[in-house]
C-alpha cells in the first residue's frame, strides 16, 4: 500500500539555484515591462520572471508544453501564482527576449504585472460542480478576451483584481475583489416528490439545510421547503439529488465592486453589490462582459494614480459611482441582513451624484 501523510514535496527541492542562493536576500525589484519582473539580490545576482496568463483548466499536454518551454529557457524551473498565472524564472538576461517571443508566438498572454488586470480567480461552474448558478470558465474567458489589453499593459490607476464564484458558497476569493462576478440562484429547490422517498434519507436532508428551511411532509413522504428561509445554497441537493435547484431562466450573475485585500494605504474592504442580476447568456455572456468593461473603463478614466477601485469610490462616493456608470440603483442594493443599518447614511452629508 502507498505511504500516507507524506505531505507535499519539499518546495526547497523545486527552487531554482539562484533562489536557493539568494533566499531571503532580495534587495529590490522593478517591473521592466508588462509581464517582466527583475529582482536583484544583495549579492548582485539577477532573477528575471516572465509572467503569462492561463485558462486554469489545463490538459496534461498543455502542461507538458509549458514544461518544454521551461526546460529550454529556465533549466526546468517554473512556478504558478495564486491567480493561476505561470511564471518562468531565469537568470540569463539575454534569453529573456527570446523566451517572450516564443511565448507570444504560442499565444501565451504576457502580462498581469503592476497596474494591470491580472488573471481572474475562479471556480468550477458547469465543468465540475453540482450547485453552480452559472459557468465559471466560460464567463472568465469571455471577460478576459474583452479585457485582454488591460492584461498586457499597465495603464490602469492601480491593480484591478477580478474574481468569479459560481454560487454563494463562493469557492473563489470574490468577496474582497475590485470586481466580483458572483453566480446567484433566485429560486428554491423543487422537490421531486416521486423520487425523494426513494433516493434520499429524509433526516439527513433536513439536517443539511443551514437555515432550517426543510420540513418533512408526512403526506407525500417527501419534504417541503420554506421559501422565506431558503437562501438557495444547494446544500440539500448535495445529499438529496431529488431536490434540484438550478433554474435555467432565473439563475444568473451579480456584480460586486470595490473590494481589496492588501493593507496598502486603506484597510482591506469587502466588495459591494452594484448589479443584482444579469441573465446567463452562454456562450459569451455579453451582458456580464459589457457590465464589467463599463466599470473598468470609468474607473480607468476617473481613478487617481495608485487609487484602487474601492478607494476611488470612497473618495467620490457611491452616489457618483452610480451616476457615472449609469447603473440603476434599486431596493436590492439596500442591505436587509443582520448588520444592515451599518450601511445606512446617518449624516446629512451626501453628494448630489
Amino acid at each position: 500500500m502507498a505511504k500516507t501523510d507524506i505531505g507535499p514535496p519539499n518546495y526547497k527541492n523545486f527552487l531554482p539555484p539562484v533562489i536557493q542562493k539568494n533566499y531571503g536576500k532580495w534587495k529590490h525589484h522593478e517591473i521592466l515591462k508588462p509581464g517582466l519582473l527583475k529582482h536583484v539580490a544583495e549579492s548582485g545576482d539577477e532573477l528575471y520572471t516572465v509572467r503569462v496568463g492561463s485558462g486554469r483548466l489545463l490538459s496534461t499536454d498543455h502542461i507538458r508544453e509549458i514544461c518544454e518551454i521551461a526546460d529550454k529557457y529556465c533549466d526546468g524551473y517554473l512556478r504558478f501564482t495564486s491567480r493561476h498565472n505561470v511564471e518562468f524564472l531565469l537568470t540569463d538576461k539575454n534569453r529573456v527576449d527570446a523566451l517572450i517571443a516564443e511565448l507570444k508566438s504560442k499565444n501565451y498572454p504576457v502580462g498581469g504585472t503592476g497596474h494591470s488586470i491580472t488573471n481572474i480567480v475562479h471556480t468550477q461552474g458547469w465543468v465540475h460542480c453540482h450547485t453552480p448558478a452559472t459557468d465559471a470558465s466560460g464567463p472568465v474567458k469571455a471577460v478576459m478576451d474583452e479585457l485582454y489589453d488591460y492584461f498586457v499593459t499597465m495603464k490602469l490607476p492601480a491593480h484591478v483584481r477580478i474574481a468569479l464564484a459560481c454560487c454563494l458558497n463562493m469557492c473563489g476569493a470574490v468577496h474582497c475583489s475590485d470586481i466580483a462576478i458572483l453566480g446567484i440562484h433566485r429560486t428554491v429547490p423543487k422537490p421531486d416528490h416521486s423520487r425523494v422517498p426513494n433516493v434520499c434519507e429524509i433526516p439527513t436532508t433536513i439536517a443539511s439545510c443551514p437555515t432550517g428551511a426543510i420540513r418533512p411532509d408526512p403526506k407525500t413522504k417527501s419534504v417541503v421547503i420554506n421559501e422565506e428561509k431558503c437562501m438557495y445554497c444547494g446544500n440539500c441537493y448535495t445529499v438529496c439529488p431529488a431536490l434540484p435547484l438550478a433554474d435555467a431562466e432565473n439563475d444568473g450573475i451579480s456584480i460586486w465592486v470595490g473590494g481589496k485585500v492588501s493593507n496598502a494605504r486603506s484597510a482591506p474592504m469587502f466588495s459591494k453589490l452594484v448589479i443584482p442580476y444579469l441573465p446567463n447568456n452562454p456562450p459569451r455572456w455579453p451582458e456580464t462582459v459589457a457590465a464589467v468593461k463599463n466599470i473598468v473603463e470609468i474607473y480607468a478614466k476617473q481613478g487617481r494614480k495608485h487609487e484602487r477601485m474601492g478607494e476611488w469610490i470612497d473618495r467620490v462616493g457611491w452616489e457618483r459611482f452610480f451616476r457615472l456608470t449609469g447603473i440603476e440603483f434599486t431596493d436590492k442594493h439596500i442591505d436587509d441582513f443582520t448588520l444592515a443599518p451599518n450601511t445606512f447614511r446617518t449624516t446629512t452629508q451626501f453628494k448630489w451624484g
Binding site: T4, I6, L57, N107, W126, Y237, R265
Partner: protein, 398 residues
C-alpha cells in the same frame, strides 16, 4: 466538413485569451472521459444548467478527505463521466515546480484520469479533474510514489498556502514558505482526517500586501510586519525624485497616517515612525530607497470566513507581533489552543469567527490566554451592555 458537435463551446475557442475549450478538446483526443465532459458541457451551455450531482462518499484508504465525489445526471448520454471525481493534491509550497515533478504528475494523471487539471484550485491545491471510483486508489498509490500527497477537504484543515515571500520578494518579513511547509507537515493528520466542526484555513503572507489574501480567506492568518524605523536611503530617495516620481503626490499624500514629510527644497524624506501603521504603500513605491524596520515578525489574525452561514467576516487581530523562527513552537501552541477551544465549543458547521461572535471575544481571549490590548479593536465598545466575570463582582455580604 462534418458539423461540429459543440457549436456553443467552439465560440469560446475564439479570442486572444487562452481557451479552456481547447484544453478539453486536446485531452478529448486521447480520453473518452474528456470527450464526454465536452459533450455534457455543451449540453449545459445549451440548457443553461449544470449536469452534476453529488453522490456517496468516495475516497482513498486511510483518508477522510481529499477527493470530491461527482456523478453525471445524464450517464445515459455521457457514460464516460458517469463518475467524474476530483483529487485535491497538496501543491508544493509557493507553487514552485521542476519540470521533472510536473511531468511525473502528468504521467500519473494520464494513466488514471481524464488528463484535465486545474493549476490550481482556489484552495491552492493541484486539482486533478475527473476520474472513476475504481481508479482513485491506484491513482493515489502512484501519486504517493511520485512524492505527492492529497490536500484537505471537508471539515478538516485545508491545505495551507503561502506567498512567494523570501523566495523572490524583498518585502518578506517572515519565511512564509518555510512556515507554511512546516505547519503542513506538522498537521498532516488534521488535513487528511476531518475531525473539526467545519473547515479551518491557515494562510501565510510575508507582508501587509497580503498576496495570498490571508486576511480575507483564512481562519488563522499570519501576516508579516516589523518593529522599529523604516530604513531610509537618502541617496536613493533623491534618485527617485530625479527619475520623475512625484514623491508628494504619489507617496507622502497617500500615506494613510500622514506620518511622512517630504521637503521638496532639500529633497529630504522624514517619517514619524511612531505613527506609521506599516501599510507598505511607501515601500511599494520606492523599494530601492525604503526598507522595513530591522526587527521582523508577524501579526496574527483569526476568524475570517465567507458568508455561509452567518455572514462574512474579515480576520481580526489577536497578536500584533510574534517572532517566527523554526521550529515555531509558540505559533503551533497558539494554533493548537485555538483549534482545541473551537473543537470543544463550536457547533457543527460553525466557523471559528462565528463561534467568537457567538460567545464573545473576551471568552475567546480568556480561553487561549491572550491579554486584551487596544491593538485588537478599532475603538472600545459604544454600548453599555457590559458583562463582568463573576470574580470581578463583590459578593453580597449577608
Amino acid at each position: 466538413m462534418a458539423k461540429s458537435e459543440t457549436p456553443l463551446l467552439d465560440e469560446l475557442e475564439k479570442g486572444p485569451w487562452p481557451s479552456f475549450v481547447k484544453d478539453i478538446k486536446q485531452a478529448a483526443e486521447k480520453k473518452p472521459m474528456a470527450r464526454d465532459l465536452l459533450g455534457q458541457l455543451e449540453l449545459s451551455y445549451k440548457e443553461k444548467i449544470g449536469h452534476w450531482k453529488h453522490g456517496g462518499i468516495v475516497g482513498v484508504k486511510g483518508y477522510g478527505g481529499g477527493v470530491i465525489g461527482r456523478y453525471s445526471d445524464r450517464p445515459d448520454l455521457f457514460p464516460g463521466v458517469e463518475h467524474f471525481h476530483t483529487l485535491r493534491v497538496n501543491h508544493p509550497t509557493g507553487w514552485f515546480y521542476t519540470t521533472k515533478a510536473l511531468r511525473a504528475l502528468c504521467d500519473v494523471w494520464d494513466k488514471h484520469g481524464s488528463g484535465l487539471t486545474n493549476m490550481h484550485g482556489s484552495t491552492g491545491d493541484i486539482i486533478l479533474l475527473g476520474t472513476k471510483t475504481e481508479n482513485l486508489q491506484p491513482c493515489f498509490d502512484d501519486l504517493s510514489d511520485a512524492g505527492f500527497d492529497l490536500g484537505g477537504s471537508g471539515s478538516a484543515l485545508r491545505t495551507p498556502s503561502a506567498c512567494v515571500g523570501p523566495g523572490r520578494c524583498e518585502w518578506a518579513c517572515i519565511d512564509s514558505l518555510d512556515i507554511c511547509y512546516n505547519l503542513t507537515m506538522e498537521f498532516q493528520d488534521q488535513i487528511h482526517r476531518p475531525m473539526f466542526p467545519y473547515k479551518f484555513k491557515i494562510k501565510v503572507s510575508a507582508c501587509a500586501n497580503d498576496c495570498v489574501a490571508a486576511i480575507a480567506r483564512a481562519d488563522f492568518s499570519i501576516i508579516g510586519t516589523w518593529m522599529g524605523k523604516i530604513q531610509i536611503d537618502a541617496q536613493e530617495v533623491k534618485a527617485y525624485a530625479a527619475s520623475g516620481l512625484n514623491i508628494r503626490e504619489e507617496v507622502t499624500d497617500l500615506c494613510p497616517t500622514k506620518c511622512m514629510n517630504w521637503d521638496e527644497g532639500k529633497k529630504e524624506l522624514k517619517i514619524e515612525d511612531g505613527d506609521c501603521t506599516r501599510c507598505m504603500h511607501c515601500i511599494n513605491l520606492m523599494p530601492k530607497a525604503l526598507r522595513q524596520g530591522k526587527e521582523k515578525g508577524a501579526s496574527i489574525l483569526v476568524g475570517g470566513k465567507a458568508p455561509i452561514l452567518q455572514g462574512a467576516l474579515l480576520s481580526t487581530l489577536i497578536v500584533p507581533f510574534m517572532k517566527l523562527e523554526p521550529p515555531y513552537k509558540e505559533l503551533k501552541e497558539l494554533i493548537r489552543k485555538i483549534q482545541d477551544w473551537w473543537d470543544e465549543n463550536g457547533k457543527s458547521r460553525e466557523r471559528l469567527g462565528e463561534l467568537i461572535n457567538r460567545v464573545g471575544m473576551r471568552t475567546f481571549l480568556k480561553a487561549v490566554g491572550l491579554k486584551p490590548i487596544p491593538q485588537m479593536v478599532k475603538s472600545p465598545r459604544t454600548n453599555p451592555y457590559i458583562f463582568f466575570w463573576p470574580e470581578e463582582i463583590k459578593k453580597e455580604v449577608k
